[in-house]
Symmetry: C2
Subunit: 261 residues, 2 copies
Amino acid sequence: MRWARIELNGSPSYAIVEDETVIPVRGSPFDVWERAPQRLKLAQTKLLLPVIPQTFYAAGMNYAEHVREVAEKIGQQPNLPTQADIGYRANNAFIADGEKIVIPADATDQVQYEGELVVVIGRKCRNLTRETALSAVLGYSIGNDVSERTWQKSDRTLWRAKNTDTFKPMGPWIETDVTLENLVTKIRLNNELVFEFPTNHMIFGVVDYLVNMTTCLTLYPGDVVWMGTEGATLNMKHGDTIAVEITGIGTLSNPGVREGL
Amino acid sequence: MRWARIELNGSPSYAIVEDETVIPVRGSPFDVWERAPQRLKLAQTKLLLPVIPQTFYAAGMNYAEHVREVAEKIGQQPNLPTQADIGYRANNAFIADGEKIVIPADATDQVQYEGELVVVIGRKCRNLTRETALSAVLGYSIGNDVSERTWQKSDRTLWRAKNTDTFKPMGPWIETDVTLENLVTKIRLNNELVFEFPTNHMIFGVVDYLVNMTTCLTLYPGDVVWMGTEGATLNMKHGDTIAVEITGIGTLSNPGVREGL
């Protein structure tokens, strides 16, 4: 099942996407819900951000080749994580599928995409076990962790490098029927495939993170956990479009524009 | 004016605190509102978290003496920030005034309080100037940035050290009538004054942070910015109560309990 959010009669509404049809629902996937009578055409429907999390978690460095690539770019020694320490991103930076990534006027040309699997939490939970962890997941979406690499090097925190407005595209929807082992992430720059990787080849997997996180913290319905990206990443410039496809989930596609151009 | 949140007829409601009286309102301080007819006694009213932010910002190292003290505790060289790089905390960790700080069973004895000024944003804003910055502030509250110092040293991020459930008491309310220069923060451990400092003697002040942050990000109504703490901090143990008073705002008081005791 695919859960999206749309604007209906001026207010956000959850909706189910079935093939090319969008079916609004009353209620939400985190609570009781029922199908509304409307039927909309997917091609003519603007999809909103599929969820607004209470807390926006991000694994960060979670694929071996990417750790080595980023270390080289920001002039540090590669440092493979030894435990599933979760990090954070910020809600201000979210945009939905199709919306513009705005590259600030004072950013360098080192603005890069990172295609990521997004875990969407379905219920309040604490102290998950390896057996129960995936039962707390509503489904999966796609994120693009846009990053300005020179700021990533100079900021004491990653606030500008990672959380500038529009730097966190997420969507297009939440897919509930997913087999993690089968997923492949494909990244296209202007329709040209620039990188692909097996989505689940993480240093620490979804279960590792959810179990470790919930030793100390409570996850809430709608919280998201971005799982990191693999490989080297390329610069994106004004006019480029970045599409992140995860097989079985969908494609998140966003154009980039430079502020002031 | 003092804005609080209370539970009224089973739902959260904003309310105004006047002396010893709590007056519920319809609406919110971020939008239109009007006083409801009820009058409650403050002493008999449970105050909720005064606001749930979309993004929880924290300045972190923002007072010179504290930077030196923490560096010594975690075995690093003191590193005074040279720009107002904002950091983050996580919503899962919030508790309201009077609620229990739960020290995890596997935490060391190095669990410490940090009394902080909290800035509550009142309106959506971007590109604030030094002249307009404070006009975006609804008011001020008080936070206790509870920290486990051994985890602060070992975590790749600060997720356990800073964001374990219950590690972020905030409240008791939002005070709108504040002159930053006049504030004094007083920290009491079991009713004994252990430290006090001029709240506004920050490395980077409220205006510095709001101006710098909004060069890259949009602030939203209800976002909070925790401004850091000064000085050395002491361990808190099972049975202790930590009270953070900021003159002119109020007092945030929370007992600590160790899990399993």
